[in-house]
Symmetry: C2
DNA sequence: GTCTATAGTAAGATAGAC
DNA sequence: GTCTATCTTACTATAGAC
């Protein structure tokens, strides 16, 4: 995974990258307040004082993680302007399946999954984490889907429900499943049950809305 | 709210109760590792050493919280044996609405909502919290619903889908909505949007499965 | 069951040599 | 950019007087 620092510059230094990856791993398992700078530097193999040559303080590490989450999660959804073109090309059922595939690709990276865990935890403690999760993930996704379902209805590709209701009905179960998926994978367990649930959901939803 | 200690004895002492409620409040906002014994005793108005007359250590406070969550969350669902009687009495749509009402009543207590936040946070860090949330909440609820939907199908009260699929389709969106509800309420914000989403979900689901 | 006092450890962070 | 050394504060927990 390619990280950027808080000035959006790519992180080149191996040590800085290792600090970040270790922090991501530890924060995701113990929470930000449950991990000390000592824990991180011990794992990286440097002294505590050296860490401060790479990050101003412990908080800047978390900021960096949040920033990279923002950037990398932004590409899960295609731009709103492309909705019509996509619906034209592949139809609504495949539209939904492709969205799922996009997320799965995004979540292939273990670092990314760990960052999801961090967002889940820190949203309760950190106002910025909460803002990022509830805005960049929840709201953005639901708004995008409401638009997409609106277009599907206009094209008579699905039955005429309220688009926002459809967006919630489609995405809210997925939010729970995504959390389960992140959990299962980070425990090194088999994820096929969760993935089956996701496919089954798309199927059920489609059967409920198809014309 | 009436708490019990780790030996299942009701907590009578006002100080012990105040320690527990303060811990619940603080843990729910900053996480277990983000709150010190000092933070708690300062708020309660006692010295740190006094806290150890009530709890063996910091960990025992968390154990007590988990135990009380287990006990109080267990009464959200009626016993499995009563499913048929309930379906007989009120029918499937009202069955679902009543389930929602039961949860809402359970979540009326601010302490209870704070404990839900604690479970959300600590499941990522604490194996016991994870076990409680994923078993006592997720699995138990879904299994209960699968049974209930199976009975509804046998009674021809809904269309014959796979009961487990129905359970997931019904409950997984609610898990996300419950989390939203807990969040919104603990921020002192208006919860009517989330509550509307819940009702709307029951309506949508019912329209998808009704005979 | 409260307090004062204190032990012993761990925390975040900095100074300055190399 | 790494290290040693250190500062200061904060942490959990206990001893013992009242």
């Amino acid at each position: 995974m390619n990280f950027v620092d808080i000035h959006l510059e790519p992180i080149q230094s191996d040590t800085k990258k290792k600090i970040l990856e270790t922090a991501i791993d530890f924060f995701s398992r113990k929470g930000y307040t449950g991990v000390s700078v000592r824990d991180i530097t011990r794992e990286v193999g440097i002294k505590e004082s050296s860490l401060y040559k790479h990050f101003k303080n412990k908080d800047e590490i978390l900021e960096t993680i949040f920033l990279n989450f923002r950037i990398d999660s932004a590409i899960i959804l295609p731009p709103v302007e492309r909705i019509d073109a996509i619906l034209e090309a592949i139809g609504p059922e495949e539209f939904l399946n492709t969205g799922l595939k996009n997320f799965m690709k995004h979540a292939e990276d273990p670092n990314m999954r760990s960052i999801w865990r961090i967002m889940y935890i820190e949203q309760f403690r950190d106002p910025l984490a909460k803002e990022i999760y509830s805005h960049d993930i929840v709201r953005k996704t639901v708004d995008f889907l409401a638009l997409a379902f609106g277009r599907m209805i206009a094209r008579q590709q699905i039955r005429p429900f309220d688009p926002m209701t459809l967006a919630v009905e489609y995405q809210y179960p997925l939010f729970t499943m995504i959390m389960e998926y992140i959990m299962v994978k980070s425990d090194g367990m088999d994820s096929s049950d969760v993935e089956r649930k996701m496919s089954e959901h798309v199927r059920f939803f489609w059967s409920a809305v198809k014309p």
